[in-house]
Symmetry: C3
Subunit: 154 residues, 3 copies
C-alpha cells in the first residue's frame, strides 16, 4: 500500500472511530440499549468507577436496563478527541465529556465533567469499543458518588 493510501486509510479510520464515540452518546441519550451494546466487542470491559462497571457484553447490557426509567433525559457532549493507533486495527482514544442528566426522582439535574479513555478495535471492518473507562474530573449533584480519578498532578 502506498504512503498516500495508508495516510488516507488512517484518516478514514479516525473519522470512523469518532463516529463510534458519537453514536454511543446518541444512543445513550436516546435510550437505545441494543444499539449501544452493538458498539462493543463481546469481551469488552467498561469501567465507570472503582466499584461500577462490567466485563463482557452481556454484563454491560445489564447496566443499561435502568436508564430509561432512571433519567428523564440526558445529554452527552464529547469533544477533544485524540486518537493514537496501535497497529492498523487498534487505537487508544482520549476524549472529554460533559454529561448532563435530569432524573425521574425529585433531585437536582447533574453535570459530570470527565474523560473517556478507550481502546477501540476493528472487528469485521467495524470499529468497536474493546475497553471504555470513564474518569471523573469533577461533578455537581451526580448520582454516582465515586468515580475513577483523572490522576491530576498535585
Amino acid at each position: 500500500m502506498s504512503s498516500i493510501e495508508s495516510l488516507l486509510q488512517r484518516m478514514v479510520d479516525e473519522e470512523a472511530i469518532r463516529r463510534v464515540l458519537f453514536d454511543y452518546t446518541f444512543h445513550l441519550d436516546m435510550n437505545h440499549p441494543d444499539e449501544l451494546v452493538n458498539l462493543f466487542v463481546d469481551d469488552c470491559e467498561v469501567v465507570y468507577g472503582p466499584n461500577f462497571g462490567a466485563v463482557g457484553r452481556e454484563a454491560y447490557a445489564k447496566t443499561l436496563l435502568g436508564i430509561g426509567t432512571y433519567f428523564v433525559c440526558t445529554s452527552h457532549h464529547v469533544s477533544n478527541v485524540v486518537i493514537d493507533f496501535v497497529g492498523q486495527d487498534e487505537a487508544r482514544v482520549r476524549s472529554v465529556v460533559l454529561a448532563w442528566h435530569r432524573y425521574t426522582r425529585e433531585r437536582p439535574d447533574s453535570t459530570l465533567y470527565g474523560q473517556y479513555h478507550d481502546i477501540m478495535v476493528r472487528v469485521n471492518g467495524q470499529w468497536k469499543f474493546k475497553r471504555r473507562e470513564l474518569r471523573t474530573s469533577g461533578a455537581k449533584d451526580f448520582h454516582v458518588k465515586e468515580g475513577v480519578p483523572i490522576g491530576r498532578a498535585g
Copy 2:
C-alpha cells in the same frame, strides 16, 4: 474519478460541512445576521420548535432580528458531528449543542441541551443548510418553552 480521489473529496466535504456548522455558531454568538442567512439556501426550512421556525431565507432572516437586543451574549458549543452523504451534493448531519444564553431582561442565564438534525446541500461549490431542525433534550431557564423532542425511547 479514482477511489483515492473520491475518498479524499468526501473528507474535504466533511470538513467543509463541519465548518458551516461552526461558522453558524460563530455568527450567532457574534450577532451577525447577514452572515448567518448566507449559510442557508433560498428555500431553506428552519425548525426550532413545534410552533417556532421559518420557511425561506427571508422568513428566517426575520427570526434573527431580535437577537442583538434580546441577549447580552450567547455561547453555542457544537460537537458529536456525524455526517451521512446522500449522493455527492447532499448530506444528513447530526450534532449535539450546548447553548448558553445571558438575557438583557432580568432573568437567569439559561442552558439548552439539544441535537441539530440538518440537511446540507452543495450549491455552487458551497455547502449550505437546506433544513435545520433543533431538537431539545432538556433545558434550564430557557425562554422557549416548547421544543421539538428528541424522541427518546420510553
Copy 3:
C-alpha cells in the same frame, strides 16, 4: 507535489493542529505545566485578558505555577474548531471553549464560555502555539473579572 498529496497533507495538518488544541486542554486539566509550555514556541504570546497574559515561553510558564494549588480540578471542553492556513506552516485557528473550574478556596465552581483565537506555526515538523488569545463570551462565578470581549455586534 500533486494536488492529491497537497490536499492530504492539509488534512493531516488539520488533525495535527486539532490535537495540539486538545493536548493543551488535557495537560491543563492534568496540571502538567511542562507539557503545556512545550506546546508553545519560544517567542509566544498568550492573552487571557486586557491585563493578564504573557510574552515568551518563560513568562508563560510562570502563569502556570499556581494552577495546581489554586484549583481542585478543571475541565476544558473545546469544539467548533475552524482552521485557515496562511501558507504551509502557519494557520489561524478559531474554537470555542467551555471551561469549568472547582477552586481550593471556599467559593462556587465557575464556568467560562469563550473563544480561542490562535496562531499556530509548524516548527521542526511540529505544530505549536505562536499566539493564543482567549476571548470571553460570558462567565459565571469566574475568578478573572475582566476578559477580552468577543466583539459581539450591538
